[in-house]
Every structure is written in structure tokens, then in C-alpha cells.
Amino acid sequence: MVDPRISIIDGRLRGVKDIIVVSSGKGGVGKSLTASVLALILTRRGYKVGLLDLDFTSPSTHLILGVRGLNPTEDKGIIPVEVFGLRHMSIVYYTKDKSTSLRGEDLSNILTELLAVTGWGELDFLILDMPPGIGDTTLDVIKYISRSRFLLVATPSILAFSTVQKLVDLLKSQNITIIGVLENIGRSDTALAKHVRDIGVKYLGTIPFDDQIEGSIGNVDKLFNTEFASSIEKLVLPNILEAR
């Protein structure tokens, strides 16, 4: 008994030049915001960008972008929603954002299904927004898309670093590229930069608490004008573009 979905994953992603995984292990550090804003900024720069929300039990990117009334279409597979110039895919298009309790095996099946049937076409960047924890989805991304590059997000809290460190261990053991650690909701005097460098990972800089963020969620124009967005542009973009 062979599951044919697995073999097709590589083929489906053939037109995608670069896959950036926004992850942390820790929850609530700003992964979804980073993934969404990064996708928007790359799009504005003229790149072809896809954004895939892999936090199946608590999807956020549709709320951050403010997607409404759109649905993926079908053409020999699923064609993502086109919104603000980028291609967006999320389980919410199928759950209508209703409560969805999923066990690990379900998460694995959904990821495989989405990777096997979504037609991304030609993309410069596919951004994956990851769930918290170090579980099925993270392990499956490593397993199925080993060319992924991981962008890690942390806060200055020792609680966040403790988890990021565990994720770094896993990624290193699998020779997965780590772009670096982005400090979010940071202060100027944190010890994170040193901790990150001590484990041999690049420290990308710090984004301060931005009180414009909450009011900008769901409004792409406002998001572009936040300090958060200019920080992503300054701290993350060069690191993503340079290696290409």
C-alpha cells in the first residue's frame, strides 16, 4: 500500500525557488506577523510570493492580511487565493475558521494533502507560517522539504530562548539551513543576542514593541506603515536576499 501523495510533493514545488519557514517552537512571539509582513514586503519588491499557513488549529495569517470572501479555485489541483498580489493558502478556506481539533496524525495528513494538491506555479518565495511546539508539522516540513531555510523568531524572554534552542538542535542535526534568529518585542538591553551567537546562530536584530500593530491587523496598508514592517524590511530582508 503506497501513498502516492508523497512522491508528488517535490514536483509540486518545482517552480518555487526558495522556501522560508518562519518558526520558533515558542508560541506568541510574532511568527505569523513576521511571516505575513515578510510576504507582503517581498511582494511589493516585485517578487512572486506564496504564503502557506501551517498552524492548522489556530490559523492567523488570514486575519492579519484581512482576507475576506475569497476562496481557492480548482484547476488540476487547488489554486491558492490571490490577495494583495500574493498567493495565500490556509485551512480556513475549508474550515470557515470554525473550531477544528486535530491530533498529530491529522496534522500530518493535512500537510501532505496541501503539499500534494496545491498548485503554486512559479514563485520566488514560499513562506511557511509554522505552529508553536516542535511536533508533527515541524518534523514533516523537515522530512518533505529539506531545502527549507528556517527563520527563527524569539522574544527576549528566557522562556522563548529555551525553546528556540531546542529547535536549533533539531535543525542542526538535520543539516537544515537556519537564516538566523529575529528578536521580537525586544528591548535594547537583552541577553538574547549573546545567547543566540553562543549556539552558533546568526542574530538578526531586534524589533521593538509596536503599539500600532494591533490596530493594523487586517489592514495591509496600515501594516506597511508600522515600525514592525520597516524593521522586517531592514533586519530580515537583506538576510533572505543575500544567499540567493
Binding site: 500500500m1 512522491s7 508528488i8 486535530l102 498548485g119
Partner: protein, 132 residues
């Protein structure tokens, strides 16, 4: 319909197996498809026919449907899928991602959304018959 995407996956996988196991020619490929996937077998067969080539040129594809059934993780209740209960939008959603049944289906006995899909999801290649 995403039958084409799945047909492509089947062909790619069979070609990999043919390569690995050094088949000269394939006569028959047996597939099972879970009911939850709600695949139109007519379209599926058409797509497979259209996509097969080389050593698969003459292969026949047989498709067997598996009824969907669920088992509740909380109360142990077993029940079968009743497709007529859902409107077209929900049917389409389950068709693409069978796991979203956890959004729309609850255990009829205890109302829990914590159940296993015992059978009826996925598409599997069960057997390949050919000449090596």
C-alpha cells in the same frame, strides 16, 4: 476537480516503482480511494488514461472505493459517513482535506470531535501487475 492532481501523483509514484523494481511493462494498477475524498472516478480514470505513457502505456487502472467510517476516541462509538448530511460547500471542503471532517462531524453518541477516520481517507496504490 483535483482528480488531475491526484492522478498525476499516482502516475509519478507508479513510475518511481517501475524504475526501482525494474518493470519492463505494467499491465494493471489497483487503486483504492477513500469515500471522504469524494473523487469522481470517471474523471480520475480519464485523467489517468491521459497521463499514462512509456511503460504504463497499456496499463489498466482499477479503482475500488472504500466506505468511510469513524471511531470516537472518547466513547468508542463506531459510525459511517453520511454524505447527504452536508451542503455542497462542506462536501467540497471534505473532498479536498478529509481532516476538516473534524470541523463538521461530531460523534453521534457523545458529540465529540475527537475521532479517528478508521477508513475512507486517502488514495492508495494497492498492487501493480506487470512484466519485469
Amino acid at each position: 476537480m483535483h482528480e488531475w492532481a491526484l492522478a498525476e501523483a499516482v502516475i509519478t509514484t507508479v513510475e518511481e516503482i517501475v524504475e526501482r523494481e525494474k518493470y519492463e511493462e505494467v499491465f494493471e494498477v489497483s487503486l483504492t480511494i477513500g469515500e471522504l475524498q469524494q473523487i469522481d472516478t470517471g474523471i480520475m480514470k480519464f485523467a489517468l488514461k491521459h497521463l499514462k505513457e512509456g511503460k504504463l502505456k497499456k496499463a489498466k487502472f482499477s479503482i475500488k472505493m472504500h466506505k468511510a467510517s469513524f471511531k470516537c476516541n472518547v466513547c468508542g462509538n463506531l459510525w459511517v459517513f453520511n454524505k447527504n448530511k452536508f451542503n455542497e460547500e462542506v462536501s467540497e471542503a471534505i473532498h479536498f482535506i478529509p481532516e476538516v471532517s473534524h470541523t463538521y462531524i461530531k460523534c453521534p453518541k457523545c458529540k465529540s470531535p475527537d475521532f479517528n477516520i478508521v477508513e475512507g481517507r486517502g488514495l492508495y496504490i494497492q498492487k501493480i501487475r506487470g512484466r519485469k
